[in-house]
Structures are given as structure tokens and as C-alpha cells.
């Protein structure tokens, strides 16, 4: 075939273009965090330290990738959202413990692994979006979501999505399996429509009058408020209520990082991790992505500050991660994703 010659040339060129993987002044990051968010942060890091950051961004499977690559893996750091993923990285043995006083000082104890395998870098709260027009409540508990007064008025994305999964897992830790099942059935019966779309669609549906309240993460509201006019409209149609558990605080999940077990550039990776927990990066996380910084003394973005003071629930992140599987099974059992009336 005549095509094979240019094809082969292109192939060789691309293979050769791959950067050297273990080299001075470099660090390789596998990440689930979006390029537009982390690129500016990494750019700052490179400017300050002279260390170049090579990035692979993916949606799923990076833990498996590091595991499969084994001791030849180029990965130095895995940067991810969701506590369960951080825990899994530690559990399947792709993380290595880091003893760093800088990290210990910067990150509160409940937000890092006691063994030093993972470190949270930001928090996000799972909160109630409520119609400005139709909802007068200013406070709400997670337990209230099952109250029949919300019948036909709640919108939510799939119950199997990791954001909901983590919230349900936290509820499970508070109330036990039987009560959690009743609660999830209660929410299901209150749904306005079959779970679909994403958190942004929840705001959109409230704006369009499909439902009155819904669950979403905090930073989406920041992103929408600074998006195009259409998105500003959705954000403008909702109030954010920081819900709490009846005897507790607001459910938060985290984003964080682990240092890979076979990191070829471990020193650089630790430097990067410490930098991510530092003032400048924490401020960037807060202002550019509307997340809650883990480091004390960093201000949140004005739109996030406007939600009121966040009182994160005290349940250890590890417990939430442990309940994850059971929560997923309850969601299956009650056919949550089938929607109301089933």
C-alpha cells in the first residue's frame, strides 16, 4: 500500500516526540483533573522551580495503567478527584508513603492518609441548588430530601455517579444500611424526572421550571456564574443552600494526589505536591476552579464565599470510601436511576 510509507513516517515521528521519561528537571503526572484547570497551576510551578511537568489527562483507568506498567511506569504522581480513587490507589499498591513536614503542616489531619499515602488538595461540597423563584427555604438537611413535600420537585444526575455515590456512602456511615435505603427511595419518589445529564443540567432544569431543587457540586455554580450568558442565566436562577446532616456538617469530597510507588522522579514529584499544597497553588484552585482550599488562611472565590460558611462534616474520608460499594448496591436495589414512579 502506498499509504504505509507516510504512515510509518508519522508513526516514528510521534514515537520519537515522546519526552524522555526519567530525566532531570521533569516530573510526569497522570491526572483526572481537566487540562484547563491544572495547566496554569503547573505553568507557575515550572516557572518557579524550573521543573517541567509532563501530563497525561484521562477520564478513567489511570490507576490500572500505573499498576500494569509496574516498576517501569513513568508516572510520578496521580492527581485525582474523589476520595475513593485516592484510597484505591493506596489499596492496590501504586502509591508510596511520603513523610513531609510541609505537607503535614499545610493539610489538616482528616484530609490526608495517616500512612502518608494520599493527600487531599481541595474540597468541594455537594449542595442543594434551589430555585430563587419557587423555594423559600434557606436551610435544609440531607435527610429532608426524602420529605414528601418535595414530591416531583427534585432533579439529580445518575445515582451511580461518583459524586452522588460518595454522598450516599456518607449517609450510610451516619444512618446504616436500612435507613439509607429508605432515604434513597424517598428521594427517588421525589424526583421530577429520570436521573440524567450532569450537575449543570440540574441548574438548567431548575431554571427551566422542570424542578425546584437539585443536588450539585459547589464549583459548578462558580463556573456557570463566570460562563457565557446562557450559563449565567442558569446560575442566576438558583440559590445555593449548604445542607447539613441532621447531626453533622456538609458533605464534602476532595481532590488530591498520591506519589507513584515506582516514581522515577520522586524528588521532583514531592516538590510538586508540596507546591500544590502551598499558598499560590491553593489560591489558584480557589479562584480559578471555585474549590475550597485545604490550606488554612486562603480565601475562597467571592461567589463561593457567598454560599455562606462551609462546615464540613467530620466523618473521616476513609469511612466514606469504605461504604462506596454498599451505597452503589443500594442504588441498584431500589432502581434509583429508573426514575420516579417505578
Amino acid at each position: 500500500m502506498r499509504m504505509t510509507i507516510p504512515a510509518a513516517a508519522a508513526l516514528i515521528a510521534m514515537t520519537a516526540a515522546a519526552p524522555a521519561l526519567a530525566a532531570d528537571g521533569q516530573v510526569n503526572v497522570y491526572t483526572y483533573r481537566e487540562p484547563a484547570l491544572i495547566e496554569p497551576i503547573f505553568a507557575e510551578f515550572t516557572e518557579e522551580s524550573g521543573i517541567k511537568v509532563n501530563v497525561i489527562f484521562a477520564k478513567d483507568g489511570l490507576e490500572q495503567k500505573i499498576l500494569a506498567e509496574g516498576q517501569n511506569s513513568p508516572a510520578d504522581m496521580l492527581l485525582t478527584t474523589d476520595i475513593a480513587r485516592l484510597r484505591e490507589a493506596a489499596d492496590i499498591g501504586i502509591a508510596q508513603p511520603v513523610a513531609s513536614d510541609i505537607l503535614k503542616q499545610a493539610i489538616p489531619e482528616q484530609l490526608r492518609d495517616p500512612g502518608g499515602n494520599w493527600f487531599a488538595l481541595t474540597m468541594r461540597a455537594r449542595v442543594v441548588y434551589a430555585s430563587k423563584e419557587r423555594v423559600k427555604d434557606t436551610a435544609i438537611t440531607y435527610e429532608d430530601l426524602a420529605d414528601p413535600k418535595w414530591k416531583g420537585k427534585i432533579c439529580i444526575r445518575s445515582g451511580q455517579h461518583i459524586y452522588n455515590n460518595a454522598l450516599f456512602a456518607a449517609y450510610l456511615g451516619k444512618h446504616g444500611e436500612a435507613e439509607t435505603e429508605t432515604w434513597i427511595i424517598g428521594i427517588k419518589n421525589n424526583l421530577a424526572q429520570k436521573p440524567s445529564g450532569g450537575d449543570r443540567d440540574v441548574a438548567k432544569d431548575i431554571a427551566a421550571g422542570v424542578c425546584d431543587i437539585g443536588l450539585g457540586n459547589t464549583y459548578y455554580v462558580g463556573l456557570m456564574s463566570n460562563g457565557n450568558d446562557e450559563q449565567k442565566g442558569w446560575a442566576g436562577a438558583i440559590n445555593v443552600i449548604l445542607p447539613t446532616f441532621k447531626d453533622g456538617g456538609t458533605h464534602v469530597n476532595v481532590s488530591g494526589a498520591v506519589i507513584a510507588k515506582h516514581a522515577p522522579n520522586k524528588d521532583n514529584a514531592v516538590k510538586l505536591l508540596e507546591w500544590l499544597a502551598g499558598d499560590k497553588a491553593q489560591q489558584l484552585y480557589a479562584t480559578a476552579n471555585y474549590e475550597y482550599p485545604v490550606r488554612a488562611g486562603i480565601e475562597t472565590a467571592p461567589v463561593v464565599a457567598g454560599f455562606g460558611e462551609l462546615k464540613p462534616d467530620v466523618m473521616p474520608m476513609a469511612e466514606i470510601a469504605e461504604n462506596k460499594k454498599k451505597a452503589a448496591e443500594i442504588v441498584d436495589r431500589v432502581a434509583f436511576d429508573e426514575g420516579p414512579g417505578t
Binding site: 500500500m1 516498576q71 431554571a207
Partner: protein
Amino acid sequence: MSVTKRGGLSAITPLSGLACVLCIVPMLSLLTVALRGDAELWPHLLRFVLPYALRDTLLLAAGVVIVAGAIGTALASLVSFTEFPGRRYVSALALLPLAFPIYLHAFVYVELLDSAGPVQQALRDVVRLPEIRSLAGAIAIFSLVLYPYVYVTLRLAFAGQHSGLGEVARTLGCTPWQAFRRVQLPAARPAFAAGISLALMEALADFGASEYLGVRTIAYSVYSTWVTRGSLPAAAQIALLLVAAVATLAFIEHVARRRAAFSQKSNRVTPSRRIALNGTKAAAAALFVWGILALAFFVPAVFLAWTAAGTLSTVRLLEDFLYPLATTLALAVAAAAFIAVLATGAGYYQRWHHRSFMARLLNLCGMGYAIPGVVLALGALFAYTTFDNLLDRISRSVTGYSTGLVLSGTALVLIFAYAARFFAVGFGPVSARFHQINRSQDQVALTLGQGPPSINRWVLLPQITATLAAAWLLLLVDIVKELPITLLLRPIGIETLATSLYGHASRGQFEDGSLAALAILGSGVAAVAILQQLIYRPEQPLRASPGIRKVWYAITRP
């Protein structure tokens, strides 16, 4: 070794072998993952997960077969056999929706049609449209994107059909409609089967778009079993059962078809004369096809262009657009060529050795198209890293030198994984075309003293070049828009249009990715435009030496 009489060692057997290895290896590696697990989760899956997933899958599949099948068949037939206003343009444009990744189409239509979208807002006092995020919405969106598979294989089949087929039927008393329905359409059944199975497998493998639309198919169960139910082995088990089900369906169709022969005695393909439709019929035909084209392509494309235009001032042209564009094209051109070569080798191999084990195995090779991309990517990842680490260990113990990861993390692994995923897209049309070419041609050439290599080169190749080019372009379009495999297996630092778009969309900043989306569409449109040229041109013999020409004439003008 098969074919060596003239022209030396044949590349056909090694090529087919390579195709088999590349396709089977990720599945075998999934099998080892599946075997690692126990059946602990199965009672739960069987009771609470799979019944719903199976229902959604069957409904979606049935919907796509009916709707995409009907649209593709109607468009191909109207364009091939009738004359109506704008037919030439339709013929050129009907393939364009193929350039859309399903997730992009779904996203655009949800933007346009859901309750907060411009359409519903404008109509809110008049009528409430049915919810787009629903099974019906998913069927409509999938069918609008996938019908071109049926359209293109049928167009090729109709173009390759002897014009006498319809004429004979009509001299025997059939009306043109009857001739079409009873003779020309049934004669194109292998092509329809090839087209619809590609559409179906792509629908079965998707979970991003369908989940977004609130439809949770088996593919989504595979994904959620891995990600939230926390069991990769169970996920692999479901994925392999899905493959087994698809393989069974393909086998049934194969058996059903075996009783009938579809090849033609003659290769004198003059295009059938098209029937000019009169007033009302012409208007109805035009309205139908233009309506489909508007929904499937123009409306979403214009929406994207409009969105992209709004971002031009802020977009980083080099990083967000030109660099991913160049990478995407280089990768797609190379990978599509590679897979097309494999498919050709496999097609030849099946023709000469259709009873051999490998020929049967090749049929199974296309099944990768029915596996969710991210799961197949995992299979490939495990397989190639295992190979690399084994090589490394051997090298360390023998030479003391570490080879590191030889294949993993290079573009080569990405292309190998594309081959596992998209082999069917190349092999389907090629194999359907081979079925159309009467075996008596090979036999006549053999009796005239030609060996298989020269038959391959001078008798068969000229008849499959257009199909081959078409397969290459289909592959190109598919690879340009591929996302999950590229995300997981691409070399560090490589960004394609699809990954760039996903990077923006996953944060909800879809607008910033709309230029990349438009470029995906543009690359697809360019490929489709060339593809279209090929359908017009019936397969012609290439330049041939006088001896060969004699053989050719002996075959084609008995």
C-alpha cells in the same frame, strides 16, 4: 504458506495472522481479568442491574436497527434508483453525519431541545416537546449519526449491482418498485447486514452519550460495575458476555445468509437507469431526504460553528487547535492505513482459505467494535504492558540492561488498540465486496494458468480498490473522533482534537472546545467528500499487461 506460485512469498497470511493477534490479544487479556474475579457480584447484577440494562440495550438496539436501517436504506435507494430535486447534492451530503461523534451530537441536541433550550423556550406557551433525554431521544440521535453506515454499504452494493438485475425483473412483469423490493434490495442483503452491524456495534459500545441521555445500556453496566461497584473482573465478565452475544448474532446472520449466493456472474456494471419521480413523489422524496440531512448534519453543525465563532477571540490557536489537528490527522491517517492493509490481507485470506480456522477467527476479530472503548483500552493496556515487562525482565536477567516499556506509551500501542477496536470498520466493507465478486472469476483465471498472487493483483485488487479506499476513509473518520482509547493510551504530551474537546467539555466549558469539535467535523467532512467521489465511480480494472487483460476479458465477457 498459502500463495507462492508467482510473486514470491505472500504477505496475506502474515497480515491476517497479525490482524488476528491484534484483535484477539486485548480480548484474551480481558478474559484473564474476568477469570481473576469470582461470581460474588453476579446475584446482585442479575437481579438489580442487568435486567434494566438488557431492556434498555434491546430497545435501543431495536430502535437503531429500525430507524437507522430505514433511513439508510431509504436514502441509498432513492439516491441510487430515482431522480428527484437535488439528488446529486444529497448523494454527496448523506454521509456527512458520520463525521459527528455521537456524544457531540447528543450534547448539541440536549442544548437545543431540552426544557431550558432555545426551542422549548420559544415554544413553551404552544406545546411541550417530548423529553430529549430519553430512550426515544437516544434512538433518534444514534440513528441520525449511524445511518450512514447502512447508506454507504448499500450505495456501494447498488453501484456494484448489475443493471440487468432490475431490467430482467421488469421484463418479467415487475413494476420498478417490485423489481427493487424483490430483487435489487434482497440482493444487497450482505451489504445491509455489514452496514447495520457496524451501526449496531457502535451503539452497543457507547455509554457516554447514552448515559447522558438517561439510557443505561449493558455498556454502561460494564463501566459502572468497574467504577462504582468496584469490580473490574465483573466488568470484564459482562463485557465478554456482550461480545459473545454479538458474536452469536453475527453467526446467526452468517448462517442464514450462507444458503443464498450473492455474487454475480458478470462484472459488467453499468449503473441502473434512475427513475424520474413525478411531482408529488419527487417533492415528498426531496422533503424527506433534505429533512434528514438538516437534522442529522446541518442544524448541529451550524450550532457548533456559531458557538465556535463566539470563542475565536479567546481561543489559543496553536495549543487548542493547530497542534491537536496535526496530531489527529497524522495519527488517523497512519492508523487507518494500517487497519485497511490488515483488512485487505484478511479479505484475501478468507477468499482463498475460507474453510480454515483462521478464516473463521477473522470473523470474530471485528467484535472489538462492540466492546466499550475504555474497556478495550484496558485490555490492550494490560496486554502490551505485560509484554513489555516480560521483555524487560528477560533482558535484565540475560544482559543486565533494562529495556523499560518498549511498546507502552508509544503511538504504536495506540494504533494497535485502534486496530482491535475498528477492524470491523475496515474488514466489513472489504469482506462484503469480496462476497460480491463471483468465485468463478478466480477459477477461470486459475484454469488460464494464473497463480493466486497474480489473480489477487490483477483480477481482485482492481475490483476492490474503491471499496478499500472507502474503508480507509470510514476508518479515518472513526479514528479522528475516537475518545476513550486515545485518552488512556496516548503517549505523554500528545493531544488530539477529541481529547482536547473532552478536556474542555468535562469541565463544562464546552464552548472553549467547540473549535476542536468543529475541526473533528471538518476532518470528517473532508474524508466523506472524498468517499463520496468513490461511490460514484464503479470499480474499474487498473492498468494491466496484455496477458492479464486477456484473462480479464475471459472473465468479464464470457
